[in-house]
């Protein structure tokens, strides 16, 4: 087993393990923090997949942005004493059944599909290429994305403003 493989397995373990904590933890605060593990693990995997720019973006946005936001939300909405209330809605067992069945089907598909893989090209720095693509072939989606972000921004602001007004 090469070192790289070992690192991959470690990262995969970090990712899946943290995800499991997120899924099974009864405490939202724990869940929120272990989400960070998933994100970081995934970022590591991205590096393995020669996607250095995406990995950095993953860390910056997910960990630096979304996660912080989530933690804030958790803190804002839960007084510290009832962090435990998060009980199950759908019974665990039926959910496990359905999810297990789904996972089994997907796994079956992964295994049986004859993937036509090409030999990976040597990794190169992707930032410049992605930048070119965004301002070239993907200009329109890129601009649309900016509009979506703007809309989300304004939407969030107006939603919170309403809240302020009510108070």
């Amino acid at each position: 087993m090469q070192l790289a493989d070992l690192v991959f397995y470690l990262l995969a373990l970090l990712t899946v393990g943290s995800a499991a904590v997120v899924a099974f933890s009864r405490n939202v605060v724990y869940a929120a923090f272990s989400l960070m593990g998933t994100f970081l693990g995934a970022a590591g995997l991205y590096v393995f997949l020669a996607a250095d720019f995406v990995a950095v973006v993953q860390v910056l946005i997910y960990v630096g942005g979304i996660l912080v936001l989530m933690v804030f939300a958790v803190m804002l909405t839960h007084r510290i004493e009832d962090v435990q209330v998060s009980n199950r809605s759908v019974g665990t067992l039926p959910a496990l059944l359905v999810v297990g069945a789904g996972a089994a089907i997907l796994g079956y598909a992964v295994v049986t599909t004859p993937w036509r893989t090409a030999e990976p090209v040597p990794a190169e720095a992707t930032t410049r290429i992605i930048g070119d693509l965004f301002l070239g072939d993907y200009l329109l989606p890129f601009e649309l994305a900016s509009v979506v972000l703007l809309a989300a921004l304004i939407g969030a602001v107006s939603l919170s403003r309403k809240e302020l007004r009510r108070e």
Binding site: V90, V98, G102, I105
Partner: protein
């Protein structure tokens, strides 16, 4: 020959009208009545100057080539129809232009004084200018359609000027009446025009230009239309149009009412110029009418009948302007009579002399009316001779002229008409004309004696003579009434009938004096002088000497003839009942039918459809909808049970979705 200055004759007054019409109120407010008067009179004076020049230019040309044309632009050109906006001056129209601008100008000047103090001073002069322009378009038009523009244009101005003091509804009504009666004539005129155009198109060359019509008229002589000579039909229709404008039977009824307008208007429009348009039209189309003897005979008798009827009615009128109005109708009858016997030269001659003395009479009457503070009833006048010497003198001269006292203008022109009738070989016409001469002399001097002689019967103290701005035109017109006759002084009395010779190229029959019997002409002359003298004498006997009381004659035969004449033979009433009420009744019927039959039918259809739809709706509700409702009930009940699935819990929904997805995937893969 082209003469580009012709256009300015109608354009100058039109310009004046435009300036006054658009900015007259401002001018009057800022610069007073004098400025308005200047703007109004100047264009007419200039037009008169150009008219004189035109006349001189024509006179300088050889007799056969006396034609000046000014073509402005193509008005309408479609297929074979080609109409220009073009002006034509030939001896006939040049003479008419002189009359219109000359007498029109004098009346403009007179109006400056007469209308003083009128708040809408500018409007009066704008309309007067517009009228002058339109009248000039009428006489200068080179084709029938352009003539029609002037024809209707003067009708419009007449309408607006009769109703000038429109705050009194009676004046407005008189204006409308004038316009509408004229429209009846125009209706026939238009039909005649259409028929003429298509006949010419089919048999000669399509045109509406007068010179072309004259040239091609002969080609139509043999054409018949439903058993009639087509020329007879055309000329008859055109003549009906002329009866409207020239106030002949049966369309004369508007003219007496038209006296509601200011007196200068009556003088200009309803005596000197517009009412002669019909005469002018027939004279203009002389060649055409000459080819339609049947129409000519009818025209002659219409003219004679009108002359007699109007003179008879004039005898019993008490309103000074009404007397003059009927006198105008009667004199127009003379002209039409002359046209009917083919003496269009004589007609135009009388038209011209009549313009002088009738304008003078009207303006004199206007002075009297103004002096008496708008009193028009002869029975409340009298004794004005001393107070208004100049008015009296001019009025008397004109009255003598119209009565046919030699050597004044009226005598010469009327005599020529009578002689034309006689030489035409129709003694009946001559007899009518001759007796009208007596009536004319009688009613004119009845008027003179009642207004100027005897003692004053007016409540208004000390009437004063009119200012110079009014009496000067009177004097000029009176001079015209004296001397205009010498233009056409008959050969039998040693004259050369210069006017007849002047008109000869345009009016082919104007100079048909070559072969007449000298003795008969002298007889006609003497007889008419005697008749005029008799008329004056009777009037003198009745109204100055009081030898015969007018009332006794009025009471003759139970007073019925007098009553009938005084009520104008009830013609107005008959027309009112027959046409006006008839049309109004028809219109009410039509409107009611529209609302109660056609619209009701539409509404009925709508109601029917609504009823049917209501029935359908009932069927729908009970049968079709009933079934649907059962289905809906079932669905509702089922839904009531199924709604428990809708827990409102997002997780549950998601769960179902994911489970279904997994199931589908499993099924797909399996």
């Amino acid at each position: 020959m082209a003469a580009a200055y012709l256009r300015w004759i109608p354009l100058l007054p039109l310009l004046g009208a435009a300036v006054l019409g658009l900015g007259g109120a401002w001018v009057q407010r800022r610069h007073g009545e004098r400025a308005v008067a200047a703007i109004a009179c100047l264009p007419v004076a200039l037009a008169f100057a150009i008219a004189v020049r035109t006349f001189a230019a024509l006179a300088a040309m050889p007799a056969e080539q006396r034609v000046l044309v000014d073509r402005l632009w193509t008005w309408i050109e479609i297929g074979s129809l080609h109409v220009d906006v073009a002006f034509l001056a030939d001896p006939l129209s040049a003479l008419m232009v002189l009359v219109v601008t000359g007498i029109g100008g004098l009346i403009h000047v007179y109006s400056v004084g007469y209308m003083r103090g009128e708040p809408a001073y500018w409007r009066f002069f704008a309309l007067l200018n517009l009228f002058t322009a339109m009248m000039l378009v009428l006489v200068l038009a080179d084709n029938l359609l352009l003539l029609f523009v002037g024809w209707e244009g003067v009708g419009l101005c007449s309408y607006a000027l009769i109703g000038f003091w429109y705050a009194d509804l009676a004046n407005a009504r008189a204006g409308s009446k004038a316009f509408l009666v004229n429209r009846v004539g125009d209706f026939a005129f238009a039909l005649g025009l259409f028929l003429l155009f298509w006949t010419l198109e089919a048999h000669a060359e399509a045109t509406l230009a007068f010179r072309e019509i004259d040239r091609h008229a002969a080609a139509l002589a043999g054409v018949s239309l439903g058993g009639w000579s087509v020329l007879t039909v055309i000329t008859a229709l055109l003549f009906v149009g002329a009866t409207g404008k020239s106030a002949q039977i049966p369309l004369y009824v508007w003219l007496p009412d038209a006296m509601a307008g200011p007196t200068p208007v009556s003088a200009l429009i309803h005596a000197a110029t517009m009412v002669t348009a019909g005469v002018y039209l027939v004279a203009r189309l002389d060649v055409l009418f000459a080819l339609a003897p049947a129409t000519l005979a009818a025209i002659a008798w219409v003219g004679a009948a009108t002359a007699l009827l109007a003179a008879a009615i004039a005898v019993v009128q008490n309103d000074i302007k009404k007397v003059l109005a009927y006198s105008t109708i009667s004199q127009l009858g003379y002209m039409v009579l002359a046209l009917g016997v083919g003496a269009s030269g004589a007609a135009v001659f009388h038209l011209m002399t009549h313009a002088f003395f009738k304008a003078c009479l009207f303006l004199g009457a206007g002075s009297v009316i103004l002096a008496l503070h708008h009193e028009q009833d002869l029975r409340r006048m009298g004794g004005l001779r001393a107070a208004m010497p100049r008015t009296y003198a001019t009025f008397l001269v004109s009255a003598l002229a119209i009565a046919g006292v030699p050597p004044l203008a009226g005598f010469v022109s009327k005599d020529e008409i009578l002689w034309s009738a006689l030489s035409h070989g129709d003694g009946g016409l001559w007899l009518v004309g001759w007796s009208v001469a007596g009536l004319t002399a009688f009613y004119m001097f009845r008027l003179v004696f009642l207004a100027f002689h005897g003692e004053a019967r007016s409540e208004h103290a000390a009437p004063r003579e009119a200012p110079a701005v009014m009496t000067v035109p009177l004097t000029i017109l009176a001079a015209g009434a004296v001397f205009a006759g010498f233009l056409g002084w008959p050969e039998v009395l040693g004259g050369g009938n210069r006017l007849g010779a002047w008109l000869a190229p345009a009016a082919a029959h104007g100079g048909a004096h070559a072969s007449h019997a000298l003795a008969w002409e002298l007889f006609s002359m003497v007889a008419s002088i005697a008749m005029a003298a008799a008329g004056i004498a009777v009037a003198y006997a009745m109204y100055v000497r009081g030898l015969v009381a007018p009332e006794r004659i009025a009471a003759w035969a139970g007073g019925a003839p007098y009553r009938w004449l005084a009520r104008k033979l009830y013609v107005d009433e008959v027309y009112q009942a027959l046409f006006v009420d008839g049309v109004l009744g028809a219109s009410r019927v039509a409107a009611r039918a529209d609302a109660r039959v056609i619209d009701a039918a539409v509404d009925g259809v709508a109601a029917g459809v609504r009823g049917w739809s209501r029935f359908q709706g009932a069927v729908d509700a009970i049968v079709v909808d009933g079934f649907v409702n059962r289905v809906a009930d079932v669905a509702l009940a089922a839904g009531g049970r199924l709604r428990r699935l809708q827990s409102g819990r997002i997780n549950a929904y998601l769960y179902v979705i994911v489970a279904a997805l997994v199931a589908v995937l499993a099924w797909q893969l399996g």
